[in-house]
Amino acid sequence: MKFDILIAGVGGQGVVLASRLLATAAIDAGYHVATAETIGMAQREGSVTSHVRIGDEVCGSLIPAGNADLIIGLEPAEAARNIHFLSKDGSIVVNEHAVIPSASANNTEYIPEQVIEFLKENCQETINVDFTQLAKEAGTYRAANVAMLAAAAGADLLPFDPDELWSVLEKMVPEKYRELNRKAFDMSLEKVSDIRRA
């Protein structure tokens, strides 16, 4: 068994926490896991990624191009920036909510809808929801990362189910944020089951 997940986002969006949660869930499920995270200078509002490799064998933490089974994009452009990691039959869970870089003179114009279209054209199994909005409704936009993990588990895109994932979250999220995260988690689960039914 081998399952590679790439999480992409912008510094401050909770990429590292999301990857720790997945890694812990993987260990609890009895697998080896290796992660590679972006820490330091690049985190300051820059593009950040985290590689999470789950499997039976110990391997290097960086996913080779074309090997990721799942991309979790906390931000559309960051998902697209890393799509070369996605394998032929991989899936994408992407947050529709864009974080627009502060305009520096000659930056490419950013049209998030076009980016989402590009992702969908290249990956059949793309789940796109405004998870930031969903998290805001649950109580804080900061819980978008948790909502996205719930969506991935709910859509059967992870090697463990939502209950296993929640039991890890419960241990790792500080008590005072727990309820709020549970709400974002449940709302997200419901949202994906709606999408699946539709």
Partner: protein, 627 residues
């Protein structure tokens, strides 16, 4: 009892060190090494360990050395550039050795992700004659931390445990053991001539040091037969692969379909080079592919050995251009390098395949780039902008320009557009000394520049700013120093420092006042001001620059990484004229504007009000005000 848990490589090292009986630990934060000391500090009281953040790496090493001379088990932590700062004591220490044990954790940063250099600590081990262990996974990092203490104790020498970013900052499942209380019972310092380095002693010790290298090389060769961190797997062809550190894993994955054919020499005890084992490995190899990040260290060792023994082995690595000489490796880079070597080899061995991605990297349409920049609401943005404005005013008034010397920390990002306020940046503390150097040039003496301005953070000030400032004052350098005091070591994840009044272990301590230090260094104009009010900051910057002689301003403000947002600003669409001044001047990541229309403020606004202060139309207001 053992337990399996998810640990970052750095945490694993901390646990390994504590398991090995660590008693005293000292370090200076530096990405990617920081979490080792953080983990130890947070467990220190539980296990009876003493842990501290020193003012810099030289001080950290010397502190650990002192404790080790008393027989304690000690650890010192730093990143690769920190080792340069500590190199003075290090080079002498290798002649003297230690009692107790001393492990030096140094983290390298191929890429680099967060560093000024891509330097290779394996080469530093060679240079200083100190053994280097090079783990490839967090588990190995844990196990090798223990081995490092053991070796150090046994041989009475310092040992370098060298990691790279992917080992330090990768997380994995690690099997750890129960940790006992650190033993407080150490022999204590015993006066002996061996602790005082002197030319005579150096001359005496040098042959011992050289002999030690040979003994260690043999010892490391023996470790191959035990098949632990070092290993040899034999394949049935005459092509071999040699690798070190995390590259060993990339190599293993790249050749996984050929493990029966290709031999693999994985070396984790990297310096001194395990010659005997390498010779044995080479005995049935005719073509050797060497896979390692950074310097061609392993490759050179092999080339030397092959030359020394007149072996008929071709070596493929960086030197013939088969592998990149810089940057971080991954499985794809390794596949390319192996294929390039195979092609040069004149063999019928099949080339390795890459996986096919859904979209190749080249075919990703253009996306907006996101260069790192100050967080939304960071005090540094206000101070840099204030100096920019003050300098512009002075230029208008007297026609003189200003040069801004930056330093290492979050505020290095003052170089980012649109602020563009870092004209020089070299290493920690260099901003001050370089500004001083610039001020002594003829061009400046002739009055072509208004003043040299240096920026430094609070932690860096203590690290290497003080000595630089004393030198500047003593030598009559006419510079202005801006201390960006956000009450933390922000870039590495918010460690305390001597200005805070808290130790690494969370105990209250005397806080050193930066302004007082500056006064006692002889700086005549020293001011302290909050960094919230842009107008006041501009006036203060101007006053300091205009002052004749060394001047300094300590700007106190917040790091939003550790403080709460004070509100959120919004753009009043009725008042906004769409001039985009706020966006084009500040580069705050919370504000953006599309090609047309008025700017918008995103969720990450922390309410610093800087944009409101620069808006010419008063169109930026607190959210509650608008509602």
């Amino acid at each position: 009892m053992t337990a399996k848990r998810i640990l970052m490589g750095n945490e694993a090292i901390a646990f390994g060190a504590m398991k090995a009986g660590l008693q005293v630990a000292s370090g200076y934060p530096g990405t990617p090494s920081t979490e080792v000391m953080e983990t130890i500090a947070s467990h220190a009281s539980k296990y009876g360990i003493y842990a501290e953040w020193a003012t810099n790496e030289k001080v950290a090493l010397e502190t650990a050395v002192g404790a080790a001379y008393s027989g304690a088990n000690t650890l010192v932590t730093m990143k690769q550039v920190g080792l340069n700062v500590a190199s003075d004591p290090l080079m002498s220490l290798s002649y003297i050795g230690v009692k107790g044990s001393l492990v030096i954790l140094v983290s390298d940063d191929p890429g680099p992700h967060s560093s000024q250099t891509e330097q290779d600590t394996r080469a530093f081990g060679h240079f200083s004659n100190i053994p280097v262990l090079d783990p490839s996974t967090p588990q190995e990092a844990y196990d090798m931390a223990k081995l490092a203490f053991k070796l150090s104790h046994e041989m009475e020498i310092p040992v370098i445990l060298r990691t790279t970013t992917r080992v330090s900052h990768g997380c994995a499942d690690v099997v750890t053991e129960d940790i006992e209380q650190a033993d407080r019972d150490i022999e204590g310092y015993v006066k002996e001539p061996r602790w005082t380095i002197f030319p005579k002693l150096t001359a005496q010790r040098h042959p011992w040091l050289e002999d030690l290298q040979v003994r260690l090389s043999d010892r490391f060769s023996d470790l191959f037969s035990e098949n632990t961190f070092n290993s040899i797997t034999k394949g049935n062809s005459r092509i071999g692969i040699a690798s070190s550190g995390v590259s060993s894993l990339y190599a293993k994955e790249a050749i996984k379909d050929h493990s029966e054919t290709l031999s693999h020499f994985k070396v984790a005890t990297i310096y001194p080079f395990p010659e005997k084992a390498a010779l044995e490995f080479l005995s049935d190899i005719t073509d050797l592919i060497v896979i390692e990040e950074l310097d061609p260290y392993l490759e050179e060792q092999f080339l030397q050995l092959i030359g020394k023994h007149h072996l008929n082995v071709n070596v493929y690595g960086k030197k013939k251009g088969h592998f990149p000489v810089s940057g971080e490796y991954d499985v794809d880079a390794v596949i390319d390098g192996v294929n390039s070597s195979l092609q040069a080899m004149n063999t019928d061995f099949p080339l390795l395949n890459h996986s096919t991605p859904v979209v190749a990297r080249e075919n990703i349409p253009p996306l907006p780039v996101r260069p790192p920049t100050f967080c939304a609401g960071c005090m540094h943005r206000t101070v840099f902008y204030a100096f920019k404005k003050a300098a512009a005013k002075l230029k208008k008034e007297n026609g003189k320009g200003t040069v801004f010397s930056g330093d290492i920390g979050c505020y290095t990002l003052g170089n980012a557009q649109p602020l563009n306020m870092v004209d020089t940046c070299l290493c920690m503390g260099a901003g001050i000394s370089m500004a001083a150097g610039l001020s002594h040039t003829q061009q400046y003496q002739d009055g072509n520049y208004a003043k040299q301005v240096a920026f430094i953070g609070d932690s860096t000030f203590f690290h290497s700013g003080i000595a630089a400032m004393i030198s500047a004052v003593y030598n009559n350098a006419d510079i202005t120093l801006a201390v960006l005091d956000n009450r933390t070591t922000a870039m590495t994840g918010h460690q305390p420092h001597p200005g805070i009044g808290l130790t690494a272990m969370g105990k209250p301590t005397k806080a050193i006042d930066i302004a007082e230090v500056l006064r006692s260094c002889g700086v005549e104009l020293v001011e302290t001001i909050g960094a919230d009010d842009l107008g006041e900051c501009i006036n203060m910057a101007k006053k300091a620059i205009e002052y004749e002689g060394p001047s300094a301003v300590v700007f106190k403000g917040k790091c939003v990484g550790i403080t709460k947002a004070t509100g959120q600003y919004v753009i009043d669409e009725d008042k906004c004229t769409g001039c985009n001044f706020c966006v084009s001047q500040l580069g705050c990541p919370a504000i953006f504007s599309m090609s047309s229309g008025i700017p918008q403020i995103q969720d990450n606004c922390t309410g610093c009000s800087l944009c409101a202060q620069v808006c010419p139309s008063d169109a930026i207001v607190l959210r509650e005000v608008l509602q």
